[in-house]
Amino acid sequence: MTSENLVEIKDLNFSYDKRPILKGINMTMPRGKVITIMGGSGCGKTTLLRLIGGAIKPSSGYVKVGGQIVHELDSDGLYQMRRKMSMLFQFGALFTDLSVFDNVAFQMREHTDLPEPVIRDLVLMKLHAVGLRGAHNLMPSELSGGMARRVALARSIALDPMLIMYDEPFAGLDPISLGVIGNLIRRLTDALGVTSIVVTHDVQESLKIVDYVYFVSEGVIVAHGTPQEMRESDAPFVHQFIHGEEDGPVPFQYPAEAYASDLKLERGLA
C-alpha cells in the first residue's frame, strides 16, 4: 500500500476467551485525517484501539502503523513506536498526584533531556493550545470533566505524535465542552498534521469534524464512508444509529423466550 496510509488493518480477528470480538476487520487510515470508528457499546471499538496501540495481540491478521506490523515488534520496538503515538483515554487518565503542568511535562521529562526552561515554555504552549495556560498550577482534582479532557489532550500532543487515538472523547461532557473538544480535535489534527482516530458513539458531534467514518457492529464493519455518505445512507444499521431509533437491526429487546410463555399465559391464550 502507499505511504499515504499511516494505519493499515488487514483481516484482523481478535477473540477473548474463545469469544470473537473482532471478525475480519479491514481499514486504512490516511495521514492527516480524522477517522472515526462508531458503534454501540461493547462492539469492539476500544479493543481496536488497544490493538493499534499494541496493548493486545490479534488472533490473526495484522495492524500496521507507519509500515511496521505492531504485534511483531518486541517490547523495545513497541515502546519506540508508542513514542510517536498517543492516546486520550475516556476520562482523561491524568496522573492525580501531579499538577496540570507536571502532567503535560511528564513525557518530555521521561523521554527527552530538554532543560527545564524549555520544558516550561513547551508545556505552556501546549496548554495555551487547549485554552488552559492559566490552569497550569491546578491539580487534576480541581478540574471539571471538560477541563481534564483538555489537559489530557495537551498531554497527548506533548511530543508531537504522528497518531492520536481518542477513546470516547465526548463521553459525559456538557454541550459547550463537547463542542470545544470536537473543534480542538479537528484544529490540532490540521495544525500538527497528525492522524486522529476517534472512537465514539456520539454521532452528531463527530460527524461534524471527521473525514471518514467506519461503523462497527458485533465485530464487523457494517458500513463506511464520508460523513455525508453516512447521513444519506439507507443501510438499516447506519440509519438506526444516526437517527437514534429505538428498534431496528439492533433490537430493543434482549433475546428472550416468547413474552406469553415467560408470563405463563399460554394456557389462558389457548
Binding site: 496501540g53 496493548a55 515502546y79 513514542r83 487518565a93 491524568l94 492525580t96 513525557q107 523521554h111
Partner: protein, 265 residues
C-alpha cells in the same frame, strides 16, 4: 449426588490451578520489579518521594505505638520480676523483647496496615482510572516508574521504622520503671547493655525487619497492580494486602526466629 462430588472436586482443582497461576504471576512480577529497578536508582528523587509517603508518614503511628508497647512491657515485666527480687533486670527484658521480637513484628504489622494498604489502594486506583494504561501508552513502563521506587522505599523504611519503634519502646519502659516506679537507673541501663548482644540481637532484628519490609511491600504492590479495576476490586485488594502481609510477617517471624535464636541464651 455423583455430579455434586464432581463439581466439588472440580472446584478444588480450579482453586489450586488459580492459586498456582497467581503465585507464578506474583513471582514474575517480583522478578520484573527487581530487573527494572535501575531507573529508580538513576532518579533517586522518585525513591525519596516514596520514602516520605511510606516512611515519614508512618512515623507517628510507629512512635506512639512503640512508646505504649514499651510502657506496658515495663509494667508487666516489673510486676513479675519484683516477685523474684530481680526488678533491675526489667531493662534487659524490655530491650530484648523489643529488639528481637516486638520491634520488628509489631512495626511490620503497623507498616502493613498504614503504608501497605495505602500503596495497594493508590496503585489499584491508578489502574482503575487508566493511569497505568496511559503511562504504558506513553512508552513509560509502570513497573519501572511506579512500582520499583515504592518497592525500594518500602525496604529502606521498614528497618528504620522498626529501629525507631524499639528505641521509643525502650524509652517507654524507662519512663514507667525508672521514672515512675523508681527502679535504679544505673542497673536498668547497665543490665540492658551487658545482655543485649549486637550480633545476635540487633543484627538479627535488623535482618528480620528487612525480610518483613520486602514481604509487605511486595505483597502490597502486587495486590495493587493485580486489583480488578473497580471500587470493589480495589477495596478487596487492600484488605488482602493487610491480611496476607500480617500472616506472612508472623509466619516468616517464626521461621527466622527458629534459625536465628535456637541455642542462644
Amino acid at each position: 449426588m455423583p455430579r455434586r462430588i464432581v463439581t466439588a472436586i472440580r472446584g478444588v482443582g480450579h482453586r489450586a490451578i488459580d492459586g498456582t497461576w497467581r503465585l507464578g504471576y506474583a513471582s514474575r512480577f517480583f522478578v520484573l520489579t527487581l530487573l527494572k529497578s535501575a531507573t529508580a536508582f538513576r532518579r533517586p528523587h522518585l525513591i525519596i518521594r516514596e520514602l516520605y509517603f511510606t516512611g515519614v508518614m508512618s512515623l507517628i503511628i510507629i512512635l506512639v505505638s512503640g512508646l505504649f508497647v514499651g510502657m506496658v512491657l515495663g509494667l508487666q515485666g516489673y510486676e513479675t520480676l519484683q516477685k523474684y527480687g530481680s526488678e533491675a533486670a526489667v531493662g534487659t527484658l524490655v530491650a530484648l523483647s523489643l529488639v528481637r521480637e516486638l520491634g520488628p513484628v509489631v512495626a511490620a504489622l503497623l507498616f502493613a496496615s498504614r503504608a501497605g494498604s495505602a500503596i495497594t489502594a493508590e496503585i489499584g486506583l491508578m489502574k482503575a482510572t487508566e493511569q497505568l494504561a496511559a503511562m504504558e501508552m506513553m512508552a513509560v513502563d509502570p513497573i519501572a516508574r511506579v512500582v520499583a521506587p515504592r518497592f525500594w522505599a518500602g525496604i529502606m523504611s521498614m528497618p528504620l521504622l522498626a529501629a525507631m519503634f524499639s528505641a521509643m519502646g525502650i524509652f517507654g519502659g524507662y519512663l514507667v520503671t525508672v521514672v515512675l516506679i523508681g527502679v535504679d537507673e544505673g542497673s536498668f541501663w547497665s543490665q540492658m547493655q551487658s545482655s543485649v548482644d549486637f550480633q545476635h540481637d540487633i543484627v538479627n532484628g535488623v535482618i528480620k525487619t528487612c525480610v518483613f519490609g520486602v514481604a509487605v511491600t511486595a505483597i502490597a504492590l502486587f495486590e495493587g497492580y493485580d486489583a480488578p479495576p473497580t471500587a470493589e476490586g480495589v477495596s478487596g485488594a487492600t484488605t488482602r494486602t493487610v491480611v496476607t502481609s500480617s500472616l506472612a510477617i508472623l509466619g516468616l517471624d517464626f521461621i527466622l526466629t527458629a534459625f536465628m535464636f535456637t541455642g542462644v541464651n
